[in-house]
């Protein structure tokens, strides 16, 4: 069986960066957006370690703000380095997605 965790991690990191680049947001909202776009089986627990990792790499930064539900939430912003990483992810994704689609569309002889 194909181990999807490695592929998911890299892909999700790029997608999270994109979502955060569009607006300042928090973990649960990012999770809802990802599931809305078709990433099934995603939970806050899936993306939280990735947010910690992105923050450690200084690609995003977080700030606690009060939430209407009660406990304060950490809202994430994209950094300059994050924007650069997102641009390179987008360019790389375009190139490999074309190549992978071509290979997967080959007919078995």
């Amino acid at each position: 069986m194909f181990d999807k965790s490695q592929l998911m991690r890299g892909t999700l990191e790029g997608c999270i960066l994109k979502i955060i680049s569009l607006e300042v947001t928090y973990g649960y909202e990012i999770m809802l957006k990802l599931t809305g776009y078709g990433f099934n089986d995603i939970r806050e627990g899936t993306i939280y370690p990735l947010l910690v990792r992105l923050e450690k790499k200084d690609l995003i930064c977080g700030e606690f703000k009060p939430s209407p539900l009660g406990p304060s939430r950490k809202y994430y912003f994209i950094t300059k380095r994050g924007k650069e990483a997102l641009n390179s992810f987008e360019a790389y994704w375009q190139s490999i997605s074309v190549a992978v689609t071509k290979i997967l569309s080959l007919e078995v002889k």
Binding site: E44, Y48, K56, F64, L69, G70, P71, R73
Partner: protein
């Protein structure tokens, strides 16, 4: 300047009170397990704050915490340990020194209060304290034991919270045996005096070392907070 890490801890303790009993147990296991890692204390408290926030929001949505983060809490902690900022060598050394000075200081105070030294001080105004090999060996064992227990509890927090009766009994027996041994060593080596010191000198040294380490830790925690803001 108050330690910002302590403030964050207090904030988290208050948040914990809003958690349901089930979620509180899960959070305790997770935080305990995270403490066994090389993540720095400040980051552990930030993670704790965020996870508690997730649990509280899940409660408000009438969901289980496992619906929000999955039911493999240990795997989530392992992921966080892998991805979070690790302690530097300086931070590790400072942490070990803090525990060491605090532990040895406490045992030293106990030694003064529960030996002939206190009688000499009160009755004769003499501060001379005999340092016996019993005191040195039992202090060493007690400190090693304390480190081992801490490591064992934090690394096995999930397994221990399952209230495994056998493990609990084994632990109680081991604990009793080691502490009895420490006490016996202390008593039987009572007369093997290595040298005598004025008990105020080591006390002053330990108190000074404690204050210095605490200040360094506070300064480091406050710097981290400024950096993270």
């Amino acid at each position: 300047m108050a330690n910002q890490l302590e403030k964050l801890r207090k904030e988290n303790n208050l948040l914990d009170k809003q958690l349901s009993k089930e979620n509180n147990t899960i959070m305790m296991d997770m935080v305990c397990y995270l403490r066994s890692s090389d993540l720095c204390d400040y980051d552990i408290e930030i993670i704790r704050k965020e996870l508690t926030g997730m649990a509280l929001e899940a409660q408000l949505r009438n969901e289980k915490f496992s619906d929000a983060v999955g039911d493999d809490y240990k795997a989530l902690c392992d992921e966080l340990m892998k991805n979070g900022r690790q302690k530097t060598l300086n931070e590790k050394a400072l942490e070990i020194l803090y525990v060491l000075v605090f532990g040895v200081g406490t045992l030293y105070l106990v030694e003064i209060l529960f030996s002939s030294t206190i009688i000499n001080i009160v009755k004769f105004g003499q501060f001379t304290m005999p340092i016996t090999s019993g005191f040195l060996v039992s202090t060493f064992i007690a400190v090693v034991m304390a480190f081992s227990v801490y490591n064992y509890f934090t690394k096995n927090s999930f397994e221990l919270s399952n209230h495994n009766r056998k493990t609990q009994i084994k632990f109680i027996i081991a604990f009793t045996v080691v502490w009895t041994a420490v006490l016996l060593i202390r008593v039987f080596m009572e007369n093997t005096v290595l040298w005598s010191v004025n008990c105020l000198y080591p006390a002053a040294f330990l108190a000074l070392a404690f204050v210095l380490i605490k200040r360094l830790e506070d300064r480091h925690a406050n710097n981290l907070l400024k950096f993270n803001r």
